[in-house]
Symmetry: C2
Subunit: 419 residues, 2 copies
């Protein structure tokens, strides 16, 4: 089945708004096995919309139109849809009542121009939007089914998942449920992960698995998407693939699904009734800023200390470190732990390159971690410019702490590292 | 002149990559008075590309094609361009030499499949890419001029500004230079800024000014774009408009053009030979993380202290504060300044709402600033969920410090504030 996405609106056309609705829809549809083959963007312009609808009708079996369902004069989707389908616009009394109730619940009176949102092409299939005033609908233009959706991302996402995907799967003859499993890793580049996971799709029992990657430095997201007849069977079929991903990416997996690295660290500390203090040089508060504001961190995060200067940092901690080294990081971690009364301390020092920012700009990161029993340390050189280095250093530090808390080796080489 | 943008590539089509190239191009062209009227997205598919080129040729005067100029088999732009234009592909010896030199400079041998990147449609106009191996080119398909550009954002941006925009302006009969002036503000919402700046376009002397806004919470970017015959005349014509923006948005302007709030704060401190220490509760290092890693901050940023707990924060600073209040913030700022030997100290305390994260979740922020002569403080309630609050609180704190350093009132109400 050939699916197209048609995005409307001057804000998208002129580039004022980045078109994340498009990428969300295309990705989500791909996950359930529905492939988008064409994308079109036009503005709030009657002539362009009509032309776009007519052209899409010659190419596709199904078209998702996004935007243009609002109450203002530049929202033209219903009107042009009716014109293209060769029908009149009629008032949907049911939706009008729903909108009035929507306003009443908020103690407001519905502005008269909202009535426009209840005008649908005659014979259109109504598609519910339980969280907004722009209802969706579907009509045929030529032999092509057009689905009209609201531009508000929250409303679109809900309508796509709950209303459109079931209809499109039915149109395409596929009746199934989907499963999306996500792994977040740190330290493995996309091409190496691709090699490491070669062939794992074949481990699924009787379902087709789609393997995908999304790199958002310094993390890599590995996705498994699959379709099956029912949720239990699908989970069972995917289990060996998921287990194999865990085995092959191993210690580099920092979190799964909606977990975050800082959340995993916090949980590991919380489980043992632990607490954390952090000292940072170049990352300048980034490590602390990721952990300390999390819900529940108030009982775990104890103290953060920041300085760009080693002597000043040592003074703040009440210790003595004479050079930037793994030993100094360990010494400071021990002192910080004791001084702040935390169960764990993490110290991140950096020997920064000299000169102007450039792609080869880097630094040597020295990490120290102390708990009641032991200290560990780790040295790594990262480069790629100041900002790249800052983000990478914070990630490396948090990941070392995660590894230490989970009993994993802290000094496994990461792909971003130069030695 | 009707301009279209045609984006190619499976990563864009499937939504794996968000199409920021499109929005950059459309916005940048709009700034110089060239309006994009249609956007198309297709994948790395010969048939779809050919269809897309032919359809665009019936609609537009100029088409910018993005992507598909790489060395791999799925990069099809040159080949399909030649087919659509009805010409052969020929090897561009000049570009081949340039590519070989590119690799030699990096002490590498050019892989053989890169030769493909020097194959251009016969008679194509060469468009230089001084920073990559994918050269641009232009051909006619029907009566429409097609410009082919690389998918790498850095290369595209440079080619668009230096090569395409001058050609497109010439095609459109407009010979002119452009000026883009940007103001960054904190504390004024987009709709209020729009009202405050009503009518300012009319103050320009004989040039048309386009006023635009881009909200990236908590900052608002106000843009003035104009075209004129020459740079000096344009700067003169825009000067009264720029002065009026400064006057009307006043103290809320935190930075202009490429400046940042943290950069302005750092500069103000550096100019007076000052230094800074920071103590944070809920922002948890975010304030420090914005200032301390900047180039040159090593001589200014002195110490950062973080805790979620007031008693622990007080202890770290060596002071005594018994409640979360403006007075406590001022007391701690004074002690932190003295203890760390900095010329200035900024303290950010927070009384956080209880319960789960939700849209009404907020907190009361108490800020204290101390220098050698005085202390100032400020209290504000922000809400909008934990993350919104965290980012807003850091911005408010840095902005208060900026205001204090520049001799402006620190307690002007911001739009995000609830009282």
């Amino acid at each position: 089945m050939r699916i197209e996405i048609l995005c409307t609106g001057d804000e998208i056309l002129t580039g004022k708004t980045i078109n994340t609705n498009y990428s969300h829809m295309a990705w989500r549809l791909g996950e359930v096995g529905l492939d988008v083959v064409w994308g079109t963007t036009v503005g709030d312009d009657r002539e362009a919309l009509l032309k776009a609808f007519r052209e899409a009708a010659t190419r596709a079996d199904a078209v998702i139109v996004n935007g243009g369902l609002g109450p203002t004069v530049d929202d033209l989707s219903q009107e042009v849809a009716a014109q293209a389908a060769g029908v009149e616009l009629v008032l949907d009394q049911e939706w009008l009542k729903r909108m009035e109730a929507f306003y009443t619940r908020r103690n407001r009176v519905m502005p008269p121009n909202n009535v426009k949102q209840a005008m649908l092409p005659a014979g259109a299939e109504f598609i519910d939007n339980p969280i907004g005033t722009a209802c969706g609908f579907a009509v045929n233009i030529g032999k092509t089914r057009f689905f009209f959706t609201p531009g508000v991302p929250r409303e679109l996402k809900k309508m796509l998942d709950e209303q459109l995907i079931p209809r499109l799967l039915k149109m395409s003859g596929v009746e199934s449920v989907t499963r999306l499993k996500r792994f977040h890793s740190f330290g493995i580049g996309e091409s190496r992960a691709d090699q490491m996971l070669a062939g794992i799709e074949a481990l699924a029992n009787g379902v087709e698995v789609k393997l995908g990657f999304q790199a958002h430095y310094p993390q890599l997201e590995t996705k498994l998407a699959a379709r099956g007849a029912n949720a239990e069977g699908l989970a069972r079929a995917l289990a060996p693939v998921e287990a194999e991903v865990r085995k092959r990416l191993g210690n580099f997996i920092i979190a799964e699904d909606d977990q975050t690295l800082e959340g995993v660290v916090l949980d590991a500390l919380r489980k043992r009734g632990g607490s954390l203090s952090v000292a940072e040089m170049f990352t300048g508060g980034e490590i602390a800023a990721r952990v300390s504001p999390i819900e529940g961190a108030e009982s775990v995060f104890r103290r953060g200390v920041i300085s760009r200067d080693l002597a000043e940092l040592s003074r703040s901690i009440g210790a003595n470190a004479s050079d930037i080294s793994a030993d100094s990081a360990a010494t400071l971690a021990t002192a910080l732990r004791r001084g702040s009364g935390a169960s764990h301390a993490l110290v991140s020092l950096i020997d920064l390159d000299q000169g102007a920012d450039r792609i080869e700009f880097g630094g040597t990161i020295c990490l120290g971690i102390a708990d009641a029993d032991t200290t560990v340390s780790r040295t790594a050189r990262l480069q790629g410019g100041r900002e790249w280095l800052r983000i990478g250093a914070a990630e490396l530090a948090l990941d070392c702490l995660r590894r230490h808390l989970l009993g994993l080796p802290v000094d496994e080489r990461v792909d971003f590292e130069r030695r």
